[in-house]
């Protein structure tokens, strides 16, 4: 009967039990039409650890206390945890000490909640015309308004973590990009001359004469969309100016050096390090950026291929909406492409991660040493002017160290590039120490 059931199942097309539209945030409602996807979506509450990742929200500061020194003077030195499933994104933001010890803006919600309706409501109140025709205008305007709000106030406008509507068109179920931060950034990126062999639709737009703006939702390939959906949030960002506008710094490209040089030109820093006095940068989950440097991106392998692999349910193939570490799901996530045993695949991934980890520790030690030296030099009374060069080097080292540390694959997404970045971090940190003692 198995085959019989299959034959039947395959014939049964999805049929719409309930109507859904742009205002349907509640995933349970969508789930009536797509029960399989909904079931797996809900499983992101699971918490299972892997060697270097997984979904247990352990305290990273206890795991590697050097980070208390590295983040000194910044909210991250107080509370910094391993990330976990999508189900927790809103509550984890609520409970982190980082939203308590510091006044945060509404911009934080862009990536931690199903925020679209909030944007549209805010825009309507600000006088943007109503109606579906003005939808995009509403979203972009509301985005600006909500970014600038105090976090607590904006928080009352949202109620759900990322939901179906954030990645899907309710009419066609097509995957789409909704986040203003990404929409703006991908246009800037397209305009730059940074080579993007892994994003063919952008290369094509460039070759076709760069007409108008690159429009991701109409121009990207389906395979690209399977990464862009995640690039909406899994990216480096900063809040620009008083309006706390959320910006992804891709104006010069996606490489660690290109982003740094953008920040240098805009004169941005995240905080002044308490001990070293250097105006340093904090990197945040640059998964999309590091993936872009890797062999998988270059081979056209999307985030969803590994983190939402197809799984067979009866005769249906569906995307596993239990977004999680692929190392908890190697058969579906890797074996479609790699014909080795599960244990062999795991060993290969962990070898890459272990290598990254040993370099990461080496880089952490170097940066901590530099911080101590700068602190001692200041205590010793060496004039600020003479420490500038060393502080500059601290900024460079910190940026690179954090780029790999804050990225969540422990180097897997681009193994050689992660090692290269850490090598630079080590070099700059040690050079900084030499600068301090220079006669």
């Amino acid at each position: 009967e198995n085959i019989a059931r299959r034959k039947r199942e395959a014939e049964q097309r999805v049929f719409r039990v309930v109507e859904i539209d742009e205002d349907t945030i509640d995933p349970a409602v969508w789930g009536k039409n797509y029960p399989r996807q909904y079931d797996s979506y809900r499983r992101t509450v699971d918490t299972e650890r892997t060697r270097h990742g997984g979904s247990e929200a352990f305290n990273r500061l206890e795991d590697a206390p050097r980070w208390r020194t590295i983040f000194k003077g910044y909210a991250f030195s107080i509370d910094y945890r391993e990330d976990r499933g999508h189900a927790y994104m809103l509550s984890d933001q609520d409970i982190t000490e980082r939203t308590k010890v510091v006044k945060q803006p509404g911009a934080c919600l862009h990536c931690h909640s199903s925020v679209l309706r909030a944007y549209r409501e805010a825009a309507l109140m600000a006088g943007v015309p109503a109606g579906e025709d003005h939808r995009q205008e509403q979203i972009m305007k509301g985005f600006e308004i909500v970014c600038a709000m105090p976090y607590e106030k904006a928080r009352t406008m949202v109620s759900h973590p990322v939901s179906c509507i954030d990645c899907h068109s309710p009419e066609t179920m097509q995957i789409r990009v909704t986040r203003p931060g990404f929409l703006n950034a991908i246009q800037e990126l397209a305009k730059s001359d940074y080579p993007l062999p892994h994003l063919p639709s952008i290369e094509r737009w460039r070759q076709d004469g760069r007409k108008g703006q690159y429009d991701v939702n109409t121009m990207a390939t389906r395979q690209e969309m399977r990464s862009f959906a995640c690039g909406q949030c899994h990216v480096e960002y900063y809040f620009r100016g008083e309006g706390k506008l959320l910006v992804y710094p891709w104006h010069k490209g996606l490489g660690v050096g290109e982003i740094e040089s953008y920040y240098n030109e805009t004169g941005f820093h995240d905080w002044i390090h308490e001990d070293s006095g250097a105006p340093v940068l904090k990197a945040q989950h640059p998964e999309f950026e590091l993936w872009s440097q890797g062999i998988h991106a270059r081979s056209g392998v999307a985030c969803a291929d590994c983190h939402m692999p197809y799984k067979r349910e009866g005769a249906m193939k569906i995307s596993d909406h239990h977004v999680r570490s692929p190392l908890l799901n190697i058969a579906s996530a890797c074996q479609t492409c790699h014909h080795y045993s599960e244990s062999e695949i795991k060993a290969r991934a962990e070898l890459i991660q272990d290598r990254t980890k040993t370099l990461l520790i080496r880089a952490e030690e170097a940066v901590v040493d530099l911080i101590h030296d700068l602190q001692k030099a200041q205590e010793f009374g060496i004039p600020a002017e003479q420490l500038k060069a060393a502080q500059e080097l601290h900024r460079k080292a910190q940026w690179r160290l954090d780029f790999v540390a804050a990225e969540n694959s422990m180097g897997f997404h681009a193994s050689q590039e992660a090692a290269r970045i850490l090598a630079e971090a080590i070099d700059y940190a040690r050079q900084g120490q030499l600068e301090v003692v220079k006669p």
Partner: protein, 160 residues
């Protein structure tokens, strides 16, 4: 002590009974699967026979795009060409596939088993034996023979 032995015996007979019943059910089910999935066509040369199980859909699609689409069908590569072992393999595979399919207890994605890999290897030589006579001789023996699909993985089902 005696009680325990008794229990052991009754356990045993229960197990035996269960196993026998199970076997009956199993054969029945498999036969049904075999029939329903147009098992007879399993013995034919038509690639469509293999896609009767939706499970084989991917390999079928891949085969259609692969370089050998015009020159070789599933059986050319996966079934031995020697008369006797041809049917033995067909039956064996047919049985196991039916069994796996019925109980849905196989590893996914499906992976070719070492034994069938050797069959495959022999079949490459069946067509290309002369051509590779300088480089290949002993299918199934890794001391002597290179695995053709170490380099030509994509011939049957395309890249990827």
């Amino acid at each position: 002590m005696i009680k325990e032995d008794m229990r052991f015996i009754s356990n045993l007979s229960f197990t035996t009974l269960f196993l026998l019943g199970f076997l009956g059910l199993f054969i029945g089910l498999s036969a049904y699967t075999f029939y329903y999935a147009q098992g007879a066509s399993y013995l034919s040369n038509d690639p469509k026979a293999c896609v009767n199980c939706h499970i084989m859909r991917e390999q079928y699609d891949g085969w259609q795009k692969a370089s050998h689409h015009a020159v070789a069908t599933c059986n050319d590569c996966h079934i031995p060409h020697e008369p006797l072992s041809k049917y033995v393999t067909k039956l064996k595979n047919g049985f196991w596939h039916s069994k796996s399919f019925t109980f849905q207890d196989f590893h996914e994605p499906i992976r070719i088993k070492p034994q069938n890999r050797t069959v495959l290897q022999k079949n490459c030589l069946h067509c290309h034996g002369e051509f590779v006579s300088q480089i290949a001789t002993h299918p199934g023996n890794d001391r002597q023979m290179l695995d053709c699909i170490h380099c030509h993985k994509s011939v049957g089902h395309g890249p990827g």
